[in-house]
């Protein structure tokens, strides 16, 4: 990956009347990168994508695509392609007409346009469906046509707006890999919006977590997982979500006492401020069940959900702490268990600012 920038956002703001949808967005996307924008609904990720496409006009700041300021450039002159959540296939056109629509607008000769579209169709397995109408296709096929329509144009940037959310679970997992493979093959720059952190983690080189119009944190997927900058990011990245338990650091700041039954004390990997209230984050997959008397947290099992490959155990009175086990254990609801965790896997957050300590 080169360091040449494809998309650059400097202090981008977007207002809808009194509503501040995007707040001072700073984002630099290198050429060839696959960037995922994630966040809960209403966080502004789709607005950001639509602003890059030119479908929304930004209210402030500067947006560049390959070093050209595009703040007031209409979508058709931005050389970006977009795959919509609803696919937005033109219902009155056949698959081949959908694929060649942009080429026809560029006055590409008919035969040539058809040839390009046929090549693209062949690479994504649509070659037998060219004369069908979108209504005659399955969800997965429509999704491919939407992708094909974007690929045919060979744009600078691909924009994806939750393209997989209307597919069933197994197809979604499959298309995830396919989109990423396509991205690598075309060497394009992609911006991918999703609310599914697993999609973001598995597909992207660079993940941008958004909340309420603000970028909470951005970085490589594992960086976000290992070093979340805030309690929000920590809870959003990772599945099942991180456990949060209130606690107080001890007199010399090397351990934390959890405010749950038995007041267990966890050793910290490094020294922090002493006698401070903190929120302790423990990932379910980092907790393990130890033999009685050997763990640090003693608790009772209240829920067991087994999927076969993994077992989700809820511990504490209301299943407050979730534990993920990848091996089968001889446990049942009501058992008293001991949990342990490596000191390096403990996350601490300030309960007021919610930022990582």
């Amino acid at each position: 990956m080169t360091q040449e920038l494809q998309i650059e956002l400097n202090g981008v703001d977007k207002h809808y009347g009194a509503f501040h949808a995007l707040k001072d967005i700073q984002l630099a996307i290198p050429k060839g990168a696959f960037v995922a924008l994630v966040g809960p609904s209403g966080c502004g990720k789709s607005t950001l994508l639509r602003s890059i496409a030119g479908l929304e006009t930004i209210s402030g700041g500067e947006m560049k695509i390959t070093d050209e300021v595009v703040n007031n450039v209409p979508p058709r002159h931005r050389d970006v392609a977009m795959v919509f959540q609803s696919y937005a296939l033109y219902p009155h056109m056949t698959v081949i007409d959908n694929l060649t629509y942009s080429l026809r607008l560029k006055k590409t000769p008919k035969a040539e346009a058809r040839k390009i579209a046929e090549e693209v169709a062949a690479t994504i397995g649509l070659e037998n469906l060219l004369d069908r109408f979108p209504r005659e296709l399955s969800g997965g096929q429509r999704q491919r046509v939407a992708m094909g329509r974007a690929i045919v144009r060979r744009p600078k940037v691909f924009l994806f707006d939750e393209p997989l959310s209307n597919l069933d679970a197994s197809l979604r997992v499959h298309m995830r890999k396919e989109i990423r493979a396509l991205h690598d093959r075309l060497g394009a720059t992609s911006v991918y919006v999703t609310h599914d952190q697993i999609e973001a983690m598995t597909m992207a080189d660079h993940v941008v977590v958004m909340r309420a119009g603000v970028i909470e944190q951005q970085g490589a997927p594992l960086e976000l997982y290992d070093r979340p900058a805030s309690q929000f990011v920590a809870g959003f990245i990772g599945s099942p979500a991180m456990n949060f338990v209130d606690g107080v650091t001890n007199a010399d700041g090397t351990a934390v006492t959890l405010e749950i039954d038995g007041a267990p004390e966890l050793k910290l990997p490094r020294q922090v401020a002493c006698n401070q209230k903190v929120t302790v984050g423990l990932r379910p997959e980092h907790l393990s069940i130890s033999a009685a008397g050997q763990g640090t947290i003693t608790t009772k099992i209240s829920v067991i959900e087994s999927t076969g490959s993994t077992t989700y155990v809820g511990a504490g009175d209301t299943g407050k702490i979730t534990i993920v086990l990848s091996e089968r254990r001889d446990i049942s609801v009501g058992d008293t268990i001991d949990l342990s965790i490596n000191a390096k896997d403990i996350h601490l957050f300030d309960p007021h600012s919610q930022m990582a300590i």
């Binding site: 479908l55 979508p75 977009m82 919509f84 009155h92 607008l105 209504r135």
Partner: protein, 275 residues
């Protein structure tokens, strides 16, 4: 759950109402075919004893119906083209943007629909007279009927445009089209059914228009069939069979067209163009 018994009662009621509603139409047809004495016979006959089929060509000749019908067609076609031409763009804008001014505009459009033609005709007549439009009376009527029919068209077609997802248009914009281009190549084809059906309804409405034509068009040669029918009926009229024959010739084509198209009309108005 509706019981079969209750179902039958509803069906019966529907048939009774349909008969009451359609009876005048039936009476028009049978009266046209009756001879003069049979029309006034008591008790009335429901099926003409000696149908007078010649009455239609007779009325057509005597009343010069070709000219009347032609004028009706000119007015209806002109109105339809003008309404569809001006109203389609207007409906699209009213469908795509949401703000307070759009609501105000919609309210005003509906207000226009509320005003009766008989109220509007006096100011229109004076206004048209002032600008010399009365020298082109059929065009003046087309303008007046267009204004009257526009709200109806705008409301119907706006609903059609609202059924076309904005994302399709956005896809066209990103694919390299302009706003106008996206409207013409994507939105309009998808709204075609709704626009066509609404235009046909406007045509039918204008074909039967009476108030404006009667007031504005003085020259008999330029009057539409509705005014011609009115002139046929004097205070001492006895030729009811001829009048009914005239009415039959006037409404049957439009009625037939409606019956033939009704399934598509209903479908075009209720379902979106999309599937």
């Amino acid at each position: 759950m509706m019981t079969p018994h209750l179902n039958r009662i509803y069906l019966g009621a529907a048939i009774v109402f349909a008969i009451i509603y359609l009876f005048p139409l039936y009476w028009m047809y049978v009266t046209a075919l009756k001879s003069g004495s049979e029309i006034f016979a008591y008790p009335p006959t429901f099926i003409p004893k000696d149908p007078q089929w010649g009455v239609f060509s007779h009325v057509w000749e005597v009343r010069g119906m070709g000219r009347f019908i032609w004028n009706s067609l000119v007015i209806a076609t002109g109105t339809m083209i003008l309404v569809a031409g001006l109203g389609t763009g207007c409906s699209y804008v009213l469908a795509r943007y949401r703000n307070i001014w759009i609501d105000v505009a919609l309210f005003l459009v509906l207000m226009l629909q509320v005003l009766p033609a008989s109220l509007m005709i006096t100011p229109l007549f004076v206004g048209f007279s002032a600008v010399g439009l009365l020298d082109y009376p059929r065009f003046a009527v087309i303008l007046a009927v267009t204004a009257k029919a526009m709200p109806f068209f705008v409301i119907l077609v706006r609903a059609t445009f609202m059924a076309v997802p904005a994302e399709l248009e956005e896809a066209a914009l990103v694919d390299g089209n302009s706003r106008v281009g996206a409207f013409v190549s994507v939105v309009l084809p998808l709204a075609r059914n709704g626009v066509l059906v609404s235009a046909i309804l406007i045509f039918m409405q204008a074909f039967g228009e009476f108030v404006y034509s009667k007031s504005i068009i003085q020259d008999v040669n330029l009057q539409p069939a509705s005014v011609g029918l009115n002139a046929f009926m004097g205070p001492n009229t006895v030729e009811w069979n001829n009048i009914m024959a005239y009415a039959t010739i006037y409404v049957t084509p439009i009625l037939a067209a409606f019956v033939l198209l009704q399934q598509r009309i209903v479908a075009g108005l209720t379902s979106g163009a999309l599937k």
